[in-house]
């Protein structure tokens, strides 16, 4: 069963405990590849690079230097940004700011693609970038900025704590609460 986008958004929660015996089928990797390749980027600079780690020993090595990663995921997507390419293809704004916006959008694509296929996930920023760079053999200018763990959850996610909508959302001007 494949969930549509709205349902994927509604049901996605960060997962920190996975069934370590379940691997991801090939279709999931193919769908993630499509998510990454179809993600937009400012000036179409495409300065991001993605390493999908799925070999169990390599996942363990990555986890060792990623204190924010919990559970035993079946794969870890490492989202990286190339500052040099960002500058050459997108200019200073992309190098300073847009490359993170681009990476954030790609992250959302990955999270929702996974959710739509029944695969749970959790973003993680708490890791040692230099160590991960060395482990993955990344070039100096390709820096890991975010990870996304992926796998099949083995317990229900924790409840969501959302701010009241009026604190997050306005219509037409700041503070106007409804349409």
């Amino acid at each position: 069963m494949v969930l549509d986008v709205a349902e994927s958004i509604r049901t996605r929660r960060s997962t920190r405990s996975y069934d370590s015996t379940k691997r991801l089928p090939r279709e999931v990797f193919e769908a993630l590849e499509q998510a990454v390749l179809n993600s937009p980027s400012g000036s179409n600079a495409q300065e991001s690079h993605f390493v999908i780690v799925q070999e169990p020993d390599q996942i363990r090595r990555v986890k060792r230097f990623a204190q924010g990663v919990s559970g035993n995921p079946a794969a870890v997507a490492v989202l990286c940004s190339n500052r040099v390419e960002a500058l050459s293809k997108g200019g200073a704004d992309t190098a300073e700011t847009l490359r993170f916006v681009n990476l954030g959008i790609a992250a959302a694509y990955i999270l929702l693609t996974a959710q739509s296929l029944g695969v749970s996930s959790c973003p993680a920023r708490s890791f040692h970038a230099k160590a991960i760079q060395q482990l993955l053999g990344l070039p100096e200018e390709v820096v890991p900025e975010l990870m996304i763990t992926l796998g099949y959850a083995d317990q229900p996610p924790r409840p969501k704590t959302s701010k009241p909508s009026r604190e997050v959302l306005s219509y037409d001007r700041y503070g106007k609460e409804s349409i």
Partner: protein
């Protein structure tokens, strides 16, 4: 135990020790820039992982199970509700005080 099984478990212990050291070092490195509420969470995770490692090495003590259970139940609140997590830590500490006092009573009686 066969030689290969023994080697494998020694290798696994080595890996687990490295996992632990990696966790503590990367956590320590990041704490200066991370939210204040991450500090207690990382310390508690360090404690849990250390106790697991000791158990692997054959050092098992039932008396720490109670305090650790309270933390395990409430760990997820460390960042979303630091106050509730603080109360869970208080409860874990209270249980450890009970263990400590019980130990003291036993020692006193043995010395009589």
């Amino acid at each position: 135990m066969t030689d290969t099984a023994r080697n494998r478990s020694e290798e696994e212990r080595h890996e687990r020790l490295l996992d632990f050291v990696g966790y503590v070092l990367t956590a320590a490195r990041a704490l200066g820039k991370e939210p204040a509420s991450y500090g207690p969470m990382r310390l508690v995770d360090t404690l849990t992982k250390a106790v697991e490692l000791l158990e692997d090495a054959g050092i098992r003590d039932e008396s720490v199970k109670g305090p650790l259970a309270v933390i395990r139940e409430n760990r997820w609140q460390a960042t979303s509700d630091p106050e509730a997590f603080g109360e869970a830590l208080d409860e874990a500490i209270r249980r450890l005080v009970e263990v400590t006092l019980e130990d003291a009573r036993r020692k006193e009686q043995a010395e009589k």
